[in-house]
């Protein structure tokens, strides 16, 4: 008796053809690779940008402080209980070379929250070997804040996208499947909802409840779930009248079975073409809110907050230019991917008759 059937992941031929078409569109494919690399880098940001050392070799012991608990100064024979200042420790180690202790700092040895008041100059400091992209107005490393800000922005827009699509697809699918009064009520509701000037209302709500990551996400979901409903409604409406659904119903398939086995698999694949544009929209909206001061709370590294600092201090152009270039790069990559996916799903046979 076989308890389970071995079921290898078999992509259906259409998906496989779309994938190979996507790969053949070089611009989109390489953008996807590059964006993937950027996301992996940002996920392991602690290894590149941090004020904690990567490796410490102290009195024959090995320490890896990057992840894990805070190591107090006492661990390394210093006279304080708070977290070790690894940059100072590095200098101490360097002074008595004979002992053989050493530590390795990440390429950018500053955290995104750390104020570095190096020298006698007032921040913001221009780019130098010490701070590759300079510092912001409170002396925090721009490169560090840029990378961590990217991670938060991408995480935010992916989370937004997941919830938005989950709600939008469910409701849109039910609207198309059930039709009737349910459809009518939700149509009116969504019409009202999607006519609300979203950013304006989010500003009003955020001015009342100063939001954190999750509350801001919740507010944004509340006002953007409608985007997907219209598309899914039409798609499931169309599938619902097809013969195979009628056939399934005729042999007595239940409602959930029809939805999950027949309608959804046949209508959901095209949703992929919207994903990159939703990611771009999420990043853009979060940055705009942060720029206006209605976004994530103050010390959180964010592109919008850097933009705001930059426009307030136009005489320090390195702040603005780093963010603008980073944002342009990421959004261009996302758009190229989006265009390539769209093209892979809908190959245009372009020709001219002459």
């Amino acid at each position: 008796m076989r308890w389970f059937k071995f079921n290898p992941i078999r992509l259906n031929p259409i998906t496989r053809r779309r994938w190979s078409r996507f790969r053949s569109i070089k611009r989109g494919y390489f953008s996807a690779l590059l964006l993937g690399v950027l996301i992996v880098i940002s996920l392991s940001a602690e290894l590149l940008v941090s004020n904690r050392a990567l490796i410490v070799h102290y009195q024959g012991h090995w320490y890896f402080p990057t992840y894990g608990a805070v190591l107090s100064g006492k661990t390394f024979g210093l006279d304080y209980d708070y977290e070790t200042d690894y940059k100072a420790l590095q200098q101490i180690f360097a002074q008595n070379k004979s002992v053989g202790d050493w530590l390795l700092m990440p390429p950018i040895p500053y955290s995104a929250y750390e104020t570095d008041l190096a020298g006698n100059d007032f921040p913001p400091l221009a780019p130098s070997l010490r701070h590759w992209l300079g510092t912001d107005t409170t002396g925090r490393d721009v490169a560090a804040r840029l990378l961590y800000g990217f991670r938060i922005a991408i995480a935010f827009s992916v989370a937004l996208l997941l919830f938005e699509y989950l709600i939008g697809i469910s409701i849109g699918c039910l609207m198309g499947y059930w039709g009737g009064v349910f459809d009518l009520i939700f149509q009116r509701l969504i019409e009202v909802w999607s006519n609300i000037p979203t950013l304006y209302v989010i500003m009003i709500v955020a001015s009342i409840v100063p939001p954190g990551f999750w509350t801001l996400l919740l507010i944004m979901i509340a006002f953007s779930w409608t985007n997907m409903t219209w598309y899914m409604r039409t798609a499931s409406y169309r599938e619902n009248t097809r013969d195979y659904v009628l056939a399934a119903r005729a042999i007595g398939a239940s409602g959930p079975r029809i939805i999950f086995r027949h309608i959804l698999p046949n209508s959901i694949s095209t949703v992929v073409t919207f994903v990159p544009f939703s990611v771009a929209a999420g990043v853009t909206a979060l940055t705009a809110l942060d720029y206006l001061g209605f976004g994530l709370p103050a010390p959180t590294p964010s592109w919008g907050e850097l933009l705001k600092q930059g426009t307030d201090n136009l005489e320090s152009p390195w702040i603005v230019s780093s963010v603008v270039i980073a944002m342009t790069l990421v959004l261009m990559l996302v758009t190229f991917i989006g265009e390539a996916i769209r093209e892979a799903f809908d190959p245009k046979t372009f020709r001219i008759y002459e």
């Binding site: 009202v192 009342i208 959004l331 372009f350």
Partner: protein, 340 residues
């Protein structure tokens, strides 16, 4: 079809009520509304800093407070004060700003010229450039001209207008000092001669206009190009050319009109851009238009102004949607709304 559009017009009413009721309810449950603000102000005027900070010192006596509450409808439950507000709106009275103490309508009206100027110029330039450019790109798909212009189009498509605005102000206003940092016109604009007025206006408008154009231009060009490319590959184009019509003539007479349909579907959205503007771009360039007014009133919790702007922008948006449908019906004779 007239019946259909009449029904659409009537449907504006429930949608409008839904939108305004929602925002009205939000502004009502919010702490730090106009009453608290006025109390703080009154406290500040009396020099009682401590009361202002804690907001607990009752510097206004109970009678004044009650008067204020009655004026803003805070003494009644949500629905009845919403009804009161709606009744006043129906009589074209948007109330008074809590910040300037001026009628909201006159505050908005003052800023119309600014927003209309940007709206109309953006509209004209967008359609003036995008339709020919999109056509040229579609006909010469794959040529160097198409590829080079695609870079600009993709840039504008990917990067939001406000980021373009920030980049422009950094490069051209701050670093190169070619253009002013912001504002709509010079302070002593009124004393200028007519010619100088126009030059001053354009001088100030160059950067914000580019930022506005960057986003709308890219979208429309792409739409035009894709639509025309679809139509160039159709059977009716083959027929037209097979019966001896020139390629240019076939594009002009057959493909072009069909390609305008997707553009027509978004035409109505221009009407809200025409008056609303973008508060992001207006904030960046410090242009005193309706967008900036809305942003500042949210910051200052000036709810009569917030609601007033919402009324106008919601109405424009809803009318714009209907206008889009009318445009589609005009361009595409196959579409018969409401006849299924």
């Amino acid at each position: 079809m007239t019946g259909y559009f009449l029904r659409r017009l009537l449907l504006i009413i429930p949608t409008f009520i839904g939108i305004t009721l929602l925002v009205f309810a939000i502004t009502r449950v919010v702490p730090g509304g106009p009453i608290e603000r006025m109390m703080t102000q009154a406290a500040l005027q009396q020099g009682d800093q401590r009361a202002a900070r804690t907001r607990s010192g009752n510097t206004l006596d109970e009678k004044q407070l009650a008067q204020l509450r009655a004026y803003y409808g805070f003494d009644k439950p949500l629905l009845s004060s919403y009804g009161q507000w709606l009744w006043r709106v129906l009589h074209l009275d948007l109330g008074n700003s809590t910040r300037y103490h001026d009628p909201v309508w006159s505050l908005i009206k003052e800023r119309f010229p600014v927003s209309i100027f940007y709206g109309i110029t953006t509209l004209l330039i967008t359609y003036g450039i995008c339709i020919p450019l999109g056509m040229a790109k579609a006909v010469r798909h794959g040529s160097w001209f198409d590829n080079v212009s695609s870079i600009a189009v993709f840039f504008g498509y990917a990067v939001p207008g406000y980021v373009v605005g920030i980049a422009l102000i950094t490069i051209f206003a701050s670093q190169l000092d070619w253009f002013p940092l912001g504002g709509f016109v010079d302070d002593d604009f009124d004393t200028y001669s007519f010619g100088k007025k126009i030059i001053d206006l354009l001088y100030h408008a160059a950067l914000p206009l580019t930022a506005y154009l960057a986003s709308s231009f890219a979208l429309t060009t792409l739409m035009m190009k894709n639509a025309l490319m679809d139509n160039l590959a159709t059977d009716y184009m083959r027929t037209a050319i097979a019966k001896g019509q020139s390629f240019d003539g076939a594009v002009r007479h057959h493909a072009l009109r069909n390609s305008l349909i997707p553009i027509a579907t978004s035409f109505g959205n221009n009407i809200s851009l025409l008056l609303g503007g973008s508060f992001l771009i207006e904030t960046i360039f410090n242009i005193d238009g309706i967008g900036l007014l809305g942003f500042e009133s949210v910051l200052e919790r000036d709810y009569p102004v917030v609601m007033g702007i919402l009324v106008i922008s919601a109405l424009l948006f809803l009318l714009g949607n209907i206008l889009s449908d009318i445009c589609v019906a005009l361009v595409d004779p196959r579409i018969r709304f409401g006849e299924t």
